[in-house]
Structure formats: C-alpha cells, structure tokens
Amino acid sequence: MKQHDIVIIGGGPAGLAAAVAAWDAGVRDVLILERDDSLGGILNQCIHNGFGLHTFKEELTGPEYADRFVRQVEERGIPYKLRTIVADVSPERDVLYVNSEEGAVSVRAGAVILAMGCRERPRGALGLPGFRPAGVYTAGTAQRLMNIEGCRVGKEVVILGSGDIGLIMARRMTLEGATVKLVAELMPYSGGLKRNIVQCLDDYGIPLRLSHTVTRIHGKERVEAVTIAAVDEARRPIPGTEETYTCDTLLLSCGLLPENELSKKAGVRLSRVTGGPEVDDSLETSVAGVFACGNVLHVHDLVDFVSEEAARAGRQAAAYVGGTSARQGRTVTIRAENGVRYTVPQRLNMTDEPEPVTLRFRVGDVYRDRSLVVRAGERELRRVKKRILTPGEMGELTLPAAVLAGLEAGAEIRVGLED
C-alpha cells in the first residue's frame, strides 16, 4: 500500500490552509484529495466580497480568497487530486479514494486531516408541508446554479431561514432582477451575521420576518406560492396568521450540518452539539493522528477563522508525524454551560510550557450585557464582559498561558454566561 505522511480530505479553504501549514512545518509528503473540479471548495461560488478582512486585511471575493491559498499550494508544489472522492477512512488511517484515472486506491496516511466541510439542511429534514415541485432549493444549491452554471433559478422568491447564504442569495437574486418578497425565520433572531442583514436585506428593502415559518408549498409542477405563518414559543405555527405569497422559488437557508460520514467510518467521536468531531487544542480527534478543521469541525461564519484553525491543524498534524507532538496524554475537559452551547476545542492538552489557547464558541440565544466566565470548580479563571452575544455570530475567548499553567490534568473547566 502506498503511504503518505499527511492526507488531507477536502481541498476547500480548510484543506488548503492545513496543507500549506503542514508543508511549512517541514512535511514534504502531503496529499490533498478534492472531489470537485477545482480547489477552493464552496468559496468558488461565493462571488460576493467580504472575505479576508482578518487574514489579508483587505476585502476579497470568495474565488479571490481561495486563489490566494491555491497559489500557496501551487508554489510549494503540494500534490492534489481533483474529482477524487474518499470512500473510506479506517481508524488505522487507511484512506480509500476513487477517481476515474486510478480507480479505487488505498493509501496509508501518517496523519489524516478531515476538511470535508458541511452540507445544507434540506427541505425534507425541515418537514415543510405541501407539494414537492421544482423551485425549492437550498440557498447554496441556488448559489451554485447561479454563480457557477450561470442559470437563473427564479424570478419571484421567498426565502426561509436567515442563514448567511440565504441572506447573500437574497441580494444576489435581487441584483439579477428577481424579486425577493421576504425572508422568514423560524427563530426569534437571525441565524446570520448582522452585517449580512444590513447589507443584503435592509439595503434592498427586503423584509425579515422573525418567528415565522413556511406552512405550505403550493404548486404541483413548479412552486406557485408559499404560505407563511407566525410561530409560538414552541415554534408551532399559530392558526389564523397565515399569509400566502405568490412566488416561483423557495430558497432554504436553515442551517448547515458538518459532513462527518467519513469521520464516523474512522471511528471519530462526534459532538452532539456541533455535529463535528470532538477535538483537543491541537485539533486532534478522538482517533490518534486524525485531525479536523473548518466546517467539518463546526460551522464557521467567516472563512478567515477557518484558515486560522486549519493552519493549526496542519502544524499539529506535522508535529504528530514528526514525533514532536506536545501531547502527553494529560488533558483538561471543557464543558459549555449557561447559554454557551459548545466550545471548540472540547479538551486541552496539558504541557509543561503551555501556549495560549483560543476557544471558539456559540451561544444558544441572544444575550445582552453578560459576562463570559471560565471556571475550574468555583475558581474563576477568566471573565470577559460582552455587550451582545447572538447565535449567528461565533464568539472567541483566549485562555492565557498563565491560566493554563495553573490547571491540573483531569480537571474540568466550565465556560458559561453570568450576569
């Protein structure tokens, strides 16, 4: 069986940044496996700008942002395979991939980096009643059809869900001459970034109806209308509040789900909250030598943070195959509580000379003027005041080295909100 030091599954932003970082850390035998026609992943269909403010201090489009990393990969001569799907990963890190040129090939990897991204929650999983006509698309599928295939998916549009792709598509379709009648959101708050609500809805006069859902899809062959209703606290439609909007298209932007079918085959333990692997601060999963980064780990709002996280995964995978991993088997677990839904990482490695660790987290509701507090037992390790925290914006919190140095292996620290 062929061997590679590091096999990276996925050539989107996470996989690319991981590859570059692993190379720069000295590993020369890195292989990227990408299922699509080109590197760059979903960024290729994100032709709007707003990418790279953190990484490059400038506003790039998705393809431009991807291109920066693709060039870094090309400059280093890191090999990659396109139109190549990974069919299996074993806990021993045997990777089976399939493509037209080579057929089905097994390779053994010194380390595997999972960077498969996420998928959109489809209509069926939302249980939207009504007919099943043409014209019901997840926002990302519509985005691909418009921006890559150059197709016009609809003229009169209703959007369910205020995820970022849905918001971006509201603007995109408006600019292409479609009428976006409204965005309905089941929750009492938006799932997207504030800036997208302002730039994609408010600027175009598209109403956002919070606590509303679709209760009926009309039209046997093609969408003819959708009925929207207000929902109560239990998110059940309130009878009598129904309003029917004629439209030919319903876009769904109701959540992204990390795509971890391969991770499960590798035996990786997944978080029930994020849907992604549970990792330590080196982004190593429960399976030794298997790392995860990007949207397969947890769904991000900004690609800049994906790149940063993935670079860390790349460096740590390099350390793992180089035998210089700092991991010593002593860990501290992190528990999210009191309004904090999860943190990534979920556990920390204790080392003699700890480095600061950045925790990323999401909250489960909109919170104003709270403190984010980290505790070990009753002891307060860190407290940060937050003016506003929303589910649509990922938060971050750094644990300084001094705090980590004081922790004992086997301890649990808790991250939660307090008044």
Binding site: E102, S106, R119, P122, G127, R132, A134, L145, G154, R222
Partner: protein, 476 residues
C-alpha cells in the same frame, strides 16, 4: 394494410401496466404502452410502502388474496433474473391489547387459508426479542417470515425495460382522451394522435375509472386515498429489521415502521380520502399523525433523522377488491382497475393473469427468443475495490462520484439516461440510480445531474425538468 397499429395497447406504465406488458411480451404480440407522464412509475407506483406483502391481510378468495400470494412468489422468483432490489425481511403485526388477540388469531387463520406459509403467533416478549426497538405495550404479534421489502421503482423499471427489450413500444407524455370501438378492437384517442389495437388493458391507476368508463356502461369509481410517509437517514435504518405493522383496529389500518430495501427507515402511511387525483401534498397534520402512530410500535423513533417526506395516492375502489378481467360490455377490453394495496405485490400476478387471458383470446404463441433476463445499472460503489477499479478502468465515468450521499457515479447517471426507456427527468434519474435520495437530498448533485441530462438528451439546461413538463428547474 393492417387495421390495427398494435395487437395490445396497455394504458398506464405503472407497476401493473409494466408487469402486464412484460408478461404479454412473452408472446408474438405487437405491444404498446401509453403513459401520460414522462416516465414509467410516475403515479401510485412511485409512492407507496414498498412492501411485498405475505398475503394474510386480504379476504380469502378475493382477487387481492390470490394475486397477493402469487405476486409475492413471482417477486421472489423474478428479482434475480430481472435484477431489482428485494429482501425477504419478515413482518410482524403487533397487538397492543389483550382483548384484540382473538382478532390477531383470526388474521393468522385467514393467512393460513390464503396459503401464506410459516405464519406464527408469538408473545410480546418474543416479538421484542426479534425486534428490540418495539414498545413494551406489545402483548402479542403475528410473525410472517415470508413478507419482504422491494424497491417499487426498481421493480417497475425492470418489468418495463424487459418488456421494451422484448419489443413493447412505450409512448410517454401520451394521454388517452377517448376510446371508440373499432371493428373487433378499439381506437384510442390521445393527445398525440390515435392508436388502434385489438385489445386494450386498462392499467391507469388512479384514472382507471375514467378509462373504464370510456367503454363501459357499468361505471366504476376510483377515489384517491392519500397516505403520507417519512424517510429516515440510513444511519438509523437498522432500528427495525422486519416490517412492523399494527393490528387493524379502532384507529384504522395502522401505520407501519419498516426498513427500506436501500437501508433507510420508513414510517407511514395514514389514510385520507381526498377529491383531487393530483393532490400529493404532505400536511403537518398528516406528518404528526404518522409520527404519533408509528411511536406506538417503536417509541424511540429518531424523528430528528428524517431526511424527507412524501405522500402517495392509493387508487381506492368501491368494491373492496381489485376490478380485474375482460369488461362484460366491452369485449377485448381488460381492466386492471382499483389496484390498491396489496397492488404492488400483486402486480406481477395481475400481469401473468391478464397476459394469459389475452394471449388465449388472441391465439398468440410464445416467442422462442423471449429475453427472460434483464441486467440493471451496476451499483459501482457496492463492488469490492478491485472490481470497482476494474470497472472504472473500462468506464472512467464510473469513477467520478456525482451524488456523494448515495455514492452514485457519473457513469451510472449516464446509464440511467441512455439505457432502454432511459430517464427523461431528474426524478427519473433519481428513481433509477438513487442520485439525490440521500441525506443532503440532492443539494450537491443537482447541478451536475442537470448538466448530464441536458447533454445526453441534447436539450438546453433550461429545459431540464424535475418530472413532467412545467417542472423545469430553471426559470427563464
């Protein structure tokens, strides 16, 4: 010149029409199948429970009882040579109330009378040993090991393709609008011109009353009875291994919980009589109802793992049985009308029966060159890696995965479009190779599949439809 275009014209390319055409194609008869939709398997045949019933349920001596038991035998016989997915997984009929045990016993005895083999009455505990996910409330069950699950699309396609391979002509988007007596036979008016045939088979499903009533003074009526279903992720497909029925009781016929032949879990159907034969809407009330009732059998149903829902329309007749055979006041016109459950299971037997009648009336002889075997599209991802690699070496497009959830390659999609009676729409591709049937529900593979359809049908992308005309995916 020959007065008739065809010896036999079958109206409807659902499972009954396809099975009948396939049986007729054994004979030296010129056959034609007219279908108003763009593809085979586009009505009731595409949206049902996918069960090959054992046959204990129908009243003894009814058409339903006889043809169900025979149909189940034929499905077991044919799934190999015709290459469609079938698995004999057994079924349990659950009883939740001690008082209903006599009724369960009556069902058992009816099954014996109907000729169903290996039936057993078992205790609630035995049932839970067989199926650990079952409710504690189950006090007894009827176990029918010969019950099976079948791919309704796969079976219908297999019959239709094999019929076509044996010479049957299929005409799609062809709707019968009138039928007139024409000498010894009939002239069928369609939106695409007249078709003359000596014999007619009415396999028009929900519209079998309309077709029948065009030729007979003895009117029949078929009403749509809607049933809703939910499909779960394959990851929870193993929650039950047998098909779990409920005792028909105060709440009606009961909702089933079953694995599908493709490894998903499915629940449904409820039963709602409606007026509109096109009304395949799902409803919140229906979804809630099947979930609630399925939970009586399997309390821990993972409802957060539902990937899709749909509803199907049963062609419900008023006689309580199939309406089958030559119509009294219309010689040469044969009904296969009001085919509701167990219609899918019975279909091959209906075909066998009707083809026999017609062949005899026509004085037809069996063909010597009848092709009894049909090969389906290879499921490349299910092959061992070496075989998969060998296949990809011959056909590189088998190595390019389009639908990642169901591991469907470009080559399989091309096959679906290019083969006998190939797919003409997205749904047609889906039913042939399962593209888009997985957990992302075609989110990723829609654009590429559209391109492949456009390329291989030689049509522009904006003409690609989900199913019938009017369901174009792109809005120009």
């Amino acid at each position: 010149m020959e007065r008739y275009d065809f010896d036999v014209c079958v109206v409807g390319a659902g499972v009954v029409g396809a099975a009948t055409a396939r049986e007729l194609s054994r004979y030296d008869l010129r056959l034609c199948v007219l279908e108003k939709e763009e593809d085979v398997c586009s009505g009731t045949s595409k949206a049902n429970s996918g069960i090959a019933h054992a046959g204990f349920d129908p009243e003894t001596d009814s058409w339903m009882a006889r043809l169900n038991v025979r149909g189940a035998e034929l499905i077991r016989e044919l799934c190999g040579p015709l290459d469609f997915a079938y698995r004999q997984n057994g079924a349990l009929v659950l009883c939740f109330d001690e008082e209903e045990i006599p009724a369960l016993r009556a069902l058992y005895e009816r099954g014996l009378r109907n000729g169903v083999s290996d039936l057993r009455l078992i205790t609630g505990e035995e049932a839970r040993r067989l199926e650990p996910a079952l409710s504690e409330q189950v006090c007894a069950a009827l176990y029918a090991p010969t019950s099976g699950i079948v791919c309704p699309f796969g079976m219908t396609l297999a019959f239709a393709e094999n019929a076509a391979d044996n010479g049957a002509v299929f005409r799609f988007l062809t709707e019968v609008t009138g039928i007139a007596r024409d000498g010894e036979g009939y002239c069928l008016q369609t939106n695409r011109g007249p078709v003359r045939a000596r014999f007619v088979v009415n396999a028009a499903g929900l519209y079998s009353d309309t077709i029948h009533n065009l030729v007979s003074a003895h009117k029949i009526s078929v009403t749509p009875r809607r049933g809703e279903y939910m499909i779960f992720d394959q990851e929870v497909g193993g929650l039950v291994s047998a098909t779990i029925f409920q005792m028909p009781g105060k709440q009606g016929k009961g909702v089933l919980v079953t694995p599908t032949v493709h490894g998903n879990l499915m629940i449904g159907p409820n039963a709602e009589s409606i007026d509109d034969k096109e009304d395949t809407e799902t409803t919140r009330a229906g979804t809630d109802e099947i979930a609630r009732r399925a939970r009586l059998s399997v309390p821990d149903l993972p409802l957060n793992r539902v990937i899709t829902g749909f509803s199907g329309l049963r062609a419900h007749g008023t006689t309580g049985d199939f309406i089958l055979g030559e119509v009294e006041d219309a010689p040469g016109f044969f009904d296969a009308a009001a085919i509701e459950s167990p219609g899918l299971t019975s279909a091959p037997a209906i075909g066998e029966y009707l083809a026999g009648l017609i062949a005899e009336r026509a004085g037809a002889r069996k063909k010597e060159d009848f092709l009894a075997v049909r090969k389906g599209i290879p499921e490349v991802a299910k092959l061992p890696p070496e075989e998969r690699a060998a296949l990809i070496a011959r056909r590189p497009d088998y190595g390019r995965i389009v639908c990642r959830c169901e591991s469907v390659s470009e080559g399989e999609i091309v096959d679906a479009i290019e083969r006998t009676l190939g797919a003409r729409s997205m749904d047609g591709v889906k039913r042939r190779v399962r593209q888009g049937m997985g957990r992302c529900q075609a989110g990723f593979c829609t654009p590429r599949t559209m391109e492949l359809l456009a390329e291989h049908l030689h049509i522009p992308l904006e003409k690609v439809t989900k199913n019938r005309p009017g369901s174009e995916l792109i809005k120009e």
